[in-house]
């Protein structure tokens, strides 16, 4: 039981990080960034290359890859979203342009690392097992949960306590009003993409470490889970994304334990579907149905 909870929290921490980045961009731009999963994948590959070719320690490779992911995020915004701003169809067009960027990223990964599964070299991560009150827990799992929690807290601090955070929240509230208040909206959006992609990238590295298998299409399964998480949590709601992310991790773990692994993926979407029907705005979100 205790072991299942740790397993669930561990899986959930990766979902939560991924979904936080997703929902941050949605909150600011009202747009889904379908390239998010490709950044997740690229960053995992980058960390792997830093560890296996440059022989960096993973604790150094992780932040480096995370920052690189952030920079890629700025690029994504520049290429796929900024040119569409102000267009009437920017919602659907943004879905497609970010999908095009994801396709390009996947092709790059395919060219550089090949279609097969890549793995971190042995000894990259601690492989010790810990005994916690009867449960056997991997040390790695606890480290990953710890890193994820630290990043969530860091983001919360950033959004609540810093000038940039206030500006991001202002732009999310109303881009027009923020502009009137003298906020450089373009800069705030670019920085939001940096933060969002850094979180997604970090999730990718942790995912790669946790399952020790990275391939060019590794982001796709997480992408749909991430969608489910941000909807269940309420679009644009950060606490919602964290709660729903951990919640999904726990539910999936217990589903596997109880009904077998073939039902694991179905759970996320069943929950998603029910939540949308019963409470369209998600657990902690804005209205999803038209008022007028």
């Amino acid at each position: 039981m205790g072991q299942q909870i740790v397993n669930g929290l561990f899986l959930g921490s990766i979902y939560a990080l991924f979904a936080l980045g997703y929902t941050l961009v949605f909150g600011v731009l009202d747009i889904l960034n379908l390239a998010h999963q490709a950044v997740f994948m690229l960053c995992a590959f980058l960390a792997l290359t830093l560890v296996s070719l440059a022989h960096l320690h993973i604790l150094l490779a992780l932040p480096l890859a995370t920052v690189a992911a952030g920079l890629v995020g700025i690029l994504v915004e520049r290429v796929a979203f900024r040119p569409l701003r102000g267009r009437a169809d920017s919602n659907v067009a943004g879905l497609i342009s970010s999908l095009a960027v994801a396709t390009i990223f996947e092709s790059i990964a395919l060219g550089l690392w090949g279609p097969d599964v890549s793995r971190f070299p042995l000894g990259t991560v601690p492989e010790r097992q810990l005994h916690l009150g009867g449960a056997v827990v991997q040390e790695l799992q606890l480290v990953i949960i710890g890193i994820a929690v630290l990043m969530v807290l860091g983001l919360t601090f950033l959004l609540q306590r810093t000038r940039l955070g206030r500006q991001i929240r202002a732009v999310a509230e109303s881009g027009f009003a923020a502009r009137v208040l003298g906020i450089d909206v373009d800069r705030v959006i670019a920085l939001s993409f940096f933060i969002s992609s850094a979180l997604g990238g970090a999730a990718g590295v942790l995912f790669g470490l946790a399952f020790n298998s990275i391939s060019p299409d590794v982001g796709r399964s997480v992408e749909l889970k991430g969608l489910a998480v941000i909807i269940v949590g309420g679009m644009g709601s950060m606490p919602g994304a964290v709660i729903a992310g951990f919640g999904l991790g726990l539910v999936e773990t217990f589903t596997v334990a109880r009904f077998g692994s073939s039902y694991r993926d179905a759970v996320a979407f069943a929950v998603l579907f029910l939540v949308l029907l019963v409470r369209p705005r998600g657990l902690l979100g804005q209205a999803a149905t038209r008022v007028a």
């Binding site: 169809d89 095009a100 992408e223 179905a266 949308l276």
Partner: protein, 299 residues
Amino acid sequence: MIAALQELFLTWQSAIGFVGINGLLALSVYATLSCGQLSLANAGFMAIGAFASALLTQHTALPFAAVLAVAALLPAAVAVPLGLPVLRLRGVFLAIATIGFGEMVRLGFVNWDYTNGALGLVGIPQRTTLPVVYLLLVAAAFLFWRLRGSRHGQALEAIREDEAVARTLAIDSTRYKLAMFVLGAGLAGLAGALDAHLTFMVAPSGFGFGRVVEMLVYAVVGGITSFIGPVIGAAFLTLLPEVLRVLGELVGVEPGPLRQFLNGAILLAVILFLPHGLASLPRRLRRWRERRKGVALAA
């Protein structure tokens, strides 16, 4: 030599078949887009049509026309109870709820032993022929063509532009949205059946998120201001990889990653620089040429 030519013809024959089937899929997404709704349930509807038709072919002696009818009507029937609650959602929320439905259908088939789980059904007799594919595509296009400019077509446009206002003009937007949702489901189911009976097999992995995104991309790249765009987009994007492959062989470039890269780059270019899709290209060229002529006359 003759064998090689034959093989070439066969590969292109199936490509031409896929152009038609993908055209139907693009129209199925266009159905809901034409009243402003981004619904992504169509891979799920396609799966229902594909599996239902394959089972009917394998277990009954029904003529193909009857099998196709069931493949269209069954997903359409599912779309009614699904659409009523789901179409209340707006924008991205509708998209995601329908993605959720599609994934549930796919995972349902993965877990269903009767259809062989993740492996799916194989050895389906090839009953799809090019005339059948194109007859159905033309019929669907004809329907959209006649809808355009009719009372109903104008109501759909009004809903796409501003649903709340359309409602204040006595347009029952829920009914229209549901009708197009059901039509899209039927077209997707039809395409699923044609696909299953062209490729000999159906597997749940063919109906994932990627599939429905593909349909959306056909429609948007072609242009969604009229029904012609999705058909053009499907043809262009279905043939593009084939053409790139042939070109790659001629130039001697390794396929795979580069082809995927070009696919993505072309998609990005169309969406950024041709907002109304490929279908608007002739008009744009004409305008460009007129402007050049104007400049020449002025000079």
